[in-house]
């Protein structure tokens, strides 16, 4: 369905982009705009687009620490930030804190040219406008797999076999890369694997945890098996460090974010064989399941509630300028992400995320208590990964830590 909407979007391109071209950069705003968001190429593009507006000041604060500052920066009245660029996990924190406003009237007035599927609607209210999709998927070295005569893996079991073959052939000692840094990254890798084994984080219709299950144990065992083929420092490797390992030619197989894969080998000093051998494939399944061990993500922007209506309108107009279809004419911008913007035509870098969507990957849950679960996973799983305790014990610890946090926040009695 995702793919179909995108292709229809392609068909509307002509129409949309001509209207935008007609009024050129005629973006004028009447009040201040201040944007906070994550820092990767696609978001830089959106921020720069918003800053092209004239008439009032548009400032951006794009940083990897955006989640630490967006809620405090929007809780004041008037709010420091008039817009936060967020993803499906981080919008929950903003909604829990009640700092973003419904956008229905603004979409009505200034939202021409938006696709229906760009509107994030919660209980009938538009709460965010999405501009790109993201997912973790396989990134590999085609030249290395060719040497050992194997196809790119489609399951994690095949990935293990390929890793063993690469090691046995003496090509690489630690051929698997993984963002397994203790904390957010480790928890996210668990989420992927857990969903791949058919797990559910919570009891249906409740906030009670449900990770200490067969799927949970299988997920942890698979992660431990993979870690045997990773650099021994894996618990300190986040996405940046894992990418550095791949760029250095130390890693042949890894599960990586689509938004980072596109520009992976464009950095300076990447050896030629890494540039030539670099290839992207869809996410892998695990344990014979059909749903990939990955999650689907969208990135979008919101408008703060504690600001005047003039500022909200100016923010909406500026952000619309940051995601205008005319941007899609630039090849470099198209490569940066899987855009949901009308007029986007997929580039080869997008195959991984498209495959993820087609294979029915589960979107990352937007539950109010998911952040607490993610944090508990990140803190408690490292003991198991170091071999200090059993999978069951680690998962029992996760549930206990989550319950303590959820009781404090009032989600559980």
């Amino acid at each position: 369905m995702f793919l179909r909407t995108l292709t229809t979007a392609g068909a509307v391109t002509l129409l949309a982009s001509t209207t935008v071209l007609a009024d050129g950069h005629g973006c004028t705003i009447g009040a201040r705009v201040s944007i906070v968001g994550n820092e990767f190429p696609a978001i830089q593009t959106v921020g720069a687009g918003a800053q092209e507006c004239s008439g009032a000041e548009v400032s951006t604060n794009l940083t990897a620490d955006h989640q630490e500052i967006n809620v405090p920066g929007m809780q004041g009245n008037p709010a420091e930030y008039t817009s936060a660029i967020i993803a499906n996990s981080s919008i929950v924190a903003l909604m829990n804190a009640d700092v973003i406003r419904p956008l229905d009237d603004l979409v009505e007035a200034h939202g021409e040219g938006l696709n229906r599927n760009q509107l994030i609607t919660i209980g009938g209210d538009v709460m965010a406008v999405a501009f790109m999709a993201n997912a973790q998927h396989l990134v590999y070295r085609a030249d290395v797999l060719e040497q050992i005569g194997l196809e790119p893996p489609t399951t994690y079991e095949e990935m293990l076999a390929a890793a063993e073959a690469i090691r046995a052939a003496g090509i690489m000692e630690y051929p698997v890369g993984g963002a397994y840094a203790a904390g957010w990254n480790l928890a996210q890798e668990f989420n992927n694997m857990f969903l791949g084994f058919g797990g559910q984080h919570f009891e249906p219709g409740s906030a009670a945890p449900n990770v200490n299950s067969e799927a949970g144990v299988q997920a942890l065992e698979m992660m431990l098996a993979l870690s045997e083929y990773m650099n021994p420092d894996f618990l300190t490797h986040d996405s940046n460090a894992t990418n550095a390992e791949f760029r250095a030619g130390n890693v042949a197989l890894m599960n990586m974010w689509g938004s980072r894969a596109a520009t992976l080998v464009t950095a300076d000093g990447v050896p030629q064989e890494v540039v030539d051998g670099f290839a992207i494939a869809g996410p892998m399944t695990v344990g014979g399941g059909d749903i990939p061990a990955s999650t689907l993500w969208w990135d979008g922007w919101t408008v703060a509630s504690n600001i005047s209506d003039e500022e909200a309108e100016a923010t909406f107009i500026a952000m619309m300028n940051g995601i205008r279809p005319a941007l899609m004419e630039d090849e470099a911008v198209r490569t940066q992400a899987v855009w949901l913007i009308p007029g986007y035509e997929p580039t080869p870098a997008a195959v991984g995320v498209f495959a993820a969507a087609e294979m029915g990957t589960v979107p990352y849950p937007m539950l109010p208590f998911m952040g607490l679960m993610h944090t508990a996973l990140g803190a408690e799983l490292s003991d198991f990964m170091q071999g200090n305790e059993s999978a069951e014990q680690a998962l029992a610890d996760v549930e206990a830590a989550y319950i303590a946090a959820a009781q404090e926040q009032g989600y559980l009695q």
Partner: protein, 341 residues
């Protein structure tokens, strides 16, 4: 000084202390005994680029009304202090009942975040503090013997570790101990084990953090001791030399007793600082191996969870911890003070 004069003299300081020290502590204590109200949850249709599903969310209108009625939240007393994230009284009692040996009990204890963090924090505090005092004293004695011309340069270089921002300093060392880094490679060559990884081993990580802690704080001790050495009465040293005291005996019986009040001062400041260890854990990305109370506070406040009550409870426990650590030193200072009166 007349009481009246003293009152007016002290008033500005007293007010500032009330405003900037007492009030925040009261506020933190308040926050730690209140928790957020139970949010009103509703299930609504949520549409994203991928699909529309029924998903649980917070009913903002209803929750807003609840919050307006009781802005402080719900009173939970000491619940947060006693829950699993902090003192974990239920879990500790359970472990005590079920564990067969003392070792098994401590294993269970090490599985609870607070006790695991205390294990590291106390080890760190009680190794780093004495080591940095000894190292600082050694540097001060060495520098003091140099010629005037060399002193300036040497003092500047000795101070560098303290000038470098802790996060940057720890990050640089983190790269050096990487198993592809300079130090990491050297250590694995030393023990002849190519697979050795400092970052993957808890004891090695603790040692790295402790070494960093000593390296970072020794200059502070050095500066204080060096200043103390300038007030050293020459005649005592000369008298000792005439009596035939060796260099070691001079240090042991004259210099160290003379510097003792400064040692107490440095110990006091450093016990406090080291108990709140945070930057090296972040810089070394060491959260999997070592945690501290300050790290918990940061973790609770940051990201998507924002557990203010939990962070407040940990803060109060940090204050209590520092007070306990400092009590022997404070009692001693009080006794000395009384003795002098």
């Amino acid at each position: 000084m007349k009481h009246r004069t003293f009152f007016w003299f002290f008033l500005p300081t007293g007010l500032a202390m009330l405003l900037f020290i007492a009030a925040p502590i009261v506020s933190v204590v308040m926050q730690s005994v209140f928790a957020p109200l139970e949010p009103v949850l509703v299930t609504v249709e949520t549409c994203t680029p991928f699909s529309c599903v029924e998903e649980t969310t917070i009913d903002q209108v209803a929750t807003r009304e609840l919050r307006a009625e009781r802005p402080l939240g719900r009173f939970v007393g000491l619940d947060i202090y006693l829950n699993r994230g902090h003192l974990a009284t239920t879990e500790v009692a359970e472990a005590w009942r079920s564990a067969e040996t003392l070792g098994a009990f401590f294993d269970e204890l090490g599985d609870l975040p607070f006790y695991r963090a205390m294990g590291f924090t106390l080890t760190y505090t009680f190794t780093v503090t004495p080591l940095l005092i000894i190292l600082g004293l050694m540097i001060a004695l060495a520098v003091n013997t140099l010629t005037q011309r060399l002193k300036g340069v040497v003092i500047f270089f000795s101070l560098l570790p303290m000038i470098v921002t802790p996060l940057v300093g720890s990050l640089i060392m983190f790269w050096m101990i990487d198993n592809r880094g300079v130090l990491g490679n050297f250590i694995s060559w030393l023990v002849n084990d190519p697979d050795l990884s400092v970052k993957a081993s808890t004891p090695m990580m603790w040692i790295a953090l402790i070494v960093y802690g000593v390296w970072h704080s020794a200059p502070f001790a050095f500066v204080v001791f060096y200043a103390g050495l300038q007030t050293m009465p020459e005649d005592q040293i000369e008298a000792a030399q005439i009596d035939g005291a060796s260099r070691w005996q001079q240090v042991r019986y004259i210099v160290v007793p003379h510097l003792m009040p400064l040692v107490t001062f440095v110990a006091l400041i450093q016990l406090m600082d080291n108990f709140r260890v945070l930057e090296p854990i972040i810089g070394f990305n060491a959260a999997a191996h070592a945690q501290s109370l300050s790290w918990f506070i940061l973790n609770d406040l940051g990201g998507e969870t924002r557990q203010l009550s939990s962070a407040a409870a940990t803060s109060v426990m940090t204050i209590i911890g520092v007070a306990i650590l400092l009590s022997p030193v404070l009692v001693r200072t009080w006794r000395d003070f009384k003795g002098k009166m």
